[in-house]
């Protein structure tokens, strides 16, 4: 007996509405699947059952819904999507709780601030482009043995750890009113490399978002990272930088890792102002 038949015959099942899109630029459309209820289900296992069934509620054979996932325990950030209207990871979206809030039905949509590649799979290159822009790394001299790192207080460690848990999932960007979607189409004769460079240039000019601002705070507080703080602050005040933040404070509400993003933005704003003044006086 296949999954769809089992689902229809089963005592408990629920409907899953998915907003699908076949490829970039194509029309999006809704599709419904019926899934049998099992104990301990999350949205990942729902999508796994849909892939196995590959049949809509009307019985039409369809390709499995495409989505991204890896760790399934909310440390990799891959499976971010909009579930019942809220941006979050599919792995920690437990079916019983979703059904308690909205009986009988679960709604899945791709994130709206990133170009859809297919179905729930989106292109989040822009998140990583922002990490390039703010130089989110510790610029050590070499990987030779140079002794231990600097001593750090427990408080410093605890604060850094809050920021360093950022898994680049993009929830903060999805929720941000100032972070707008950029979707470029690859030209007919354009090479993948040229297209990529054109995308990066466009990303560079537009708002970097809360996650990148928090990373500036993380690396500028690091005893070694601090030595190149001004480079990161330059990026922070450049086009697409912190001045775009409208202080809506949505980011902090949706962050699955509870990173104090608004605190980071406030601190970074202060540091950026001091930096700008210093630059002005040093002219």
């Amino acid at each position: 007996m296949n999954g769809a038949a089992r689902a229809e015959g089963g005592a408990r099942s629920f409907l899953v509405r998915v907003l699908r899109q076949d490829r970039p630029g194509a029309e999006a459309y809704w599709e419904s699947h019926r899934v049998a209820h099992e104990p301990d289900m999350n949205v990942i296992s729902v999508l796994q059952r849909i892939a196995e069934q590959a049949r809509t509620v009307e019985g039409k054979r369809v390709a499995p819904v495409v989505w991204e996932c890896n760790c399934l325990e909310e440390v990799c950030g891959a499976c971010t999507m909009i579930i019942n209207g809220r941006v979050r990871q599919a792995c920690t979206a437990l079916v019983d709780r979703l059904l308690a809030d909205r009986p009988g039905e679960i709604e899945l949509r791709p994130m709206t601030k990133f170009p859809v590649l297919r179905d729930l799979l989106v292109d989040r290159t822009r998140i990583f482009a922002a990490l390039h822009k703010v130089k989110a790394w510790v610029p050590v001299d070499s990987y030779h043995h140079m002794g231990s790192g600097p001593r750090r207080s427990q408080d410093e460690q605890q604060m850094a750890y809050l920021y360093s848990k950022c898994m680049s999932c993009g929830c903060c960007l999805e929720a941000c009113p100032q972070f707008l979607k950029i979707e470029l189409a690859r030209g007919r004769d354009e090479s993948a490399e040229t297209f990529r460079a054109r995308c990066f240039a466009a990303y560079d000019r537009s708002f970097m978002g809360a996650h990148a601002i928090a990373q500036v705070e993380l690396f500028n507080a690091n005893p070694i990272g601090k030595m190149s703080a001004s480079e990161r602050l330059d990026a922070l005040v450049s086009e697409g930088g912190i001045q775009n933040c409208g202080n809506a404070q949505n980011c902090v509400k949706v962050c699955p890792k509870e990173i104090p993003l608004t605190r980071a933005i406030a601190l970074a704003g202060r540091h950026a102002t001091v930096h700008a003044l210093r630059n002005w006086f040093d002219r």
Binding site: N70, C76, T92, Y161, I224
Partner: protein
């Protein structure tokens, strides 16, 4: 002349460490990964990273003791020189990661804090909350991004490695890979290929592994002629949360920080765990292993939990096997500072706060000690010559293996918190040898090879892709084939193994392989087709699954994670001292005979029909003589004494 190009397949700790070190050595590096490298499976490692450190050193620890614990915990199945090099590098690796900004927990004075892990009596484990793997991964990801920004590293993220390109002499000249969005198949020239693709938990269906850990890259190299070593050694982690899609790990650090494993003495006691009085609880690990307590090595903890549920019928729940892992007696503040990451996972997935009530856990497939066979060059001091091109090189010229997918470091059982250090070590240490290798390449660089060589390989993989797309609709459902493979492998080839079952399973796996060969994709498109990628990965699980089964079937002994009750050696139970002595001597005779037969690396190769063939290779035990692993063995003290005397006699006999 063109720069020498090195391709790294896999962007977890090992792959990223190799990338950054190679970039520092001015190689042109390409990094290929199924996922964004920041989303690699290393992120799931929780507990920490081991090394002898300033504190343990003053309590009598040394690199040599770390070596000894690692070998003893691994039942002496490792070649010792690579492990020796690893443990001597370990303190420097942690220093390096510290400089790279890893947020290691601190003591009040600002030093790195350490905790205790399984299989040792020292607090050797540095940690960053309970997401140490994630923190280490991010630090390396950041360094590689820095090299990417300066043009040294090119990333192929969201690409599937399909196979090697080898010239007529068998030398590796690059690979063929597929873009998982556009589905373009491309041949990429490279002068050396480093496989760092991690474990193969997918073969067991649900495990603690991430979705990307199918073992496909390793299998494709295996199918190209590489040898696969010790495949039958699969670590089953004692403590995971059962789930419908995944078995989520609860790190050993929960026990390292004082967590206790227990079951109610009354089978399926319906009271909530907190209401069960102390004297009605069975702390079976503490009772049976007074020295190590809850921190016995993983294979032992796993078997005990399994036995308590299966043999003794003391599972906490009736319908589902599980035991309690309890941290609810520990101070909340400490739990939040040191274990928040894992406690949140439990809370998020089970809806119960483990700070308030004991967690329900059960063992799950976790780590592959086995992997691609690779070489090493021993120095006179018994360490590694890390500039040697033999370091981490497989038997295929120009193909290297590092991280979980190599077999070098963990023997028959891996100690907790040794994997992160081994991944970073193998990544860093492979770089020098790879550079020596590419500088001594005969017949020019990969980029100078004939275009026909690359085109032919590309066409072969395009044909395979099209063959899957064109399969009849009536073929088997690939997801169900994987589910059955996973259930079967978990049932017969994990905690307890029996020859009859293994033999039967081997036959069934062959049939499933046939089904996978006909499995019908439900997506026939040429854009972001995950379905066909899954079918291909599924097919490639079978060579490894068969190697695991065959290796386990052949190995008639108990060693580390490989346990066959039929071949278990009885303990020493006589009370009379003379009889006790006789039994212990007999035990030691058996032990020596067994080692003569089985202290060998299993080396599998695939024959022309795709069937694994097994051979056995001597293990280099030149540094520390193998001795009985006596955790919890009845009469272990008597055996230990007999064995020590025997060793002393042998040592005296060797003297002129």
């Amino acid at each position: 002349m063109a720069k020498k190009r090195v391709l790294v397949v896999g962007g977890g700790l090992a792959g990223l460490a190799a990338c950054m070190k190679l970039a520092e050595l001015d190689a042109d590096v390409s990094l290929m990964s199924l996922t964004r490298v920041k989303r690699s499976h290393s992120a799931c490692a929780q507990g920490g990273i081991n090394s002898c450190n300033d504190l343990t050193r003053q309590l009598g620890d040394s690199e040599w003791r770390h070596l000894d614990d690692t070998l003893y915990g691994g039942d002496f199945l490792q070649n010792q020189p690579p492990v020796k090099e690893l443990v001597y590098w370990a303190p420097q690796i942690i220093d390096l990661m510290d400089r790279l900004g890893v947020t290691f927990n601190r003591t009040p004075e600002g030093f790195r804090d350490q905790r205790r892990f399984g299989g040792t009596l020292f607090k050797r484990t540095a940690f960053a909350g309970a997401t140490t793997g994630q923190q280490l991964l991010y630090a390396l990801d950041e360094q590689v991004r820095r090299w990417q920004a300066s043009g040294h590293v090119t990333k192929y993220e969201s690409w599937d490695f399909l196979g090697l390109v080898q010239d007529s002499s068998g030398r590796c000249r690059g690979c063929v890979a597929q873009d998982l969005v556009t589905m373009e198949i491309r041949a990429i020239p490279a002068d050396a290929v480093i496989i760092a693709s991690g474990g193969c938990g997918g073969i067991f269906g649900r495990s603690t592994n991430s979705v990307a850990c199918t073992g496909s890259a390793v299998s494709r190299v295996f199918q190209a002629g590489a040898s696969y070593a010790n495949g039958e050694f699969v670590q089953v982690h004692p403590t995971a949360i059962p789930g419908a899609d995944k078995l989520r790990l609860i790190s050993e650090s929960a026990r390292g920080e004082g967590g206790r494993v227990w079951v109610p003495r009354e089978p399926q006691d319906p009271r909530p765990p907190g209401d069960i009085p102390e004297k009605e609880r069975l702390y079976f690990l503490e009772d049976r292993y007074p020295k190590y307590g809850n921190l016995v090595p993983r294979d032992i903890a796993t078997r005990e939990i399994f036995n308590v549920c299966v043999k003794e019928g003391l599972s906490v729940d009736r319908g589902r096997m599980c035991v309690y892992l309890d941290v609810s007696h520990l101070p909340r503040e400490m739990l939040d500072a040191k274990l928040a990451g894992i406690l949140e996972i439990y809370e998020k997935f089970q809806g119960v706060d483990p700070r308030a009530a004991a967690m329900r856990i059960f063992p799950a497939v976790h780590y592959s000690m086995g992997g691609l066979w690779c070489d090493f060059e021993r120095t006179a001091e018994g360490g590694l010559n890390i500039c040697s091109p033999r370091t981490q090189q497989t038997n295929l010229p120009g193909v290297f293996a590092i991280g979980e997918c190599d077999y070098q470091y963990h023997g028959a059982n891996r100690l907790g918190a040794n994997s992160l250090v081994a991944c970073i070590f193998s990544g860093l240490s492979v770089a020098g040898g790879v550079v020596s290798y590419v500088h001594s390449l005969p017949n020019g660089l990969a980029a100078e090879q004939s275009a026909a060589l690359f085109a032919a390989e590309r066409r072969r993989h395009e044909a395979r892709f099209r063959e899957i797309l064109a399969r009849a609709d009536s073929g088997p459902n690939p997801y169900r084939v994987q589910a059955e493979l996973g259930e079967l492998m978990t049932r017969v080839a994990t905690v307890v193994r029996h020859n009859g079952e293994l033999e039967q399973a081997y036959g069934r796996v062959g049939e499933l392989e046939e089904e996978a060969r006909r499995a019908a994709p439900s997506d026939r498109g040429d854009w972001a087709n995950q379905n066909v990628v899954f079918v291909r990965a599924l097919q490639d699980m079978f060579p490894l699954a068969k190697t695991i089964l065959k290796g386990a079937l052949a190995r008639d002994e108990c060693r580390g994670a490989h346990y066959k009750p039929e071949f278990e050696m009885p303990g020493v139970d006589a009370a009379d001292p003379a009889e006790r002595r006789r039994q212990a001597e007999e035990w030691c005779d058996l032990f020596e005979q067994n080692n003569a037969r089985w202290l060998k690396t299993t080396v599998a190769t695939l024959d022309q029909d795709g069937e694994p063939r097994l051979a056995y290779e001597q293990v280099d035990t030149s540094l520390i003589a193998p001795r009985p692993r006596l955790y919890g063995v009845v009469g272990g003290d008597a055996i230990e004494q007999s064995f020590a005397e025997r060793q002393a006699r042998q040592a005296a006999g060797r003297k002129p």
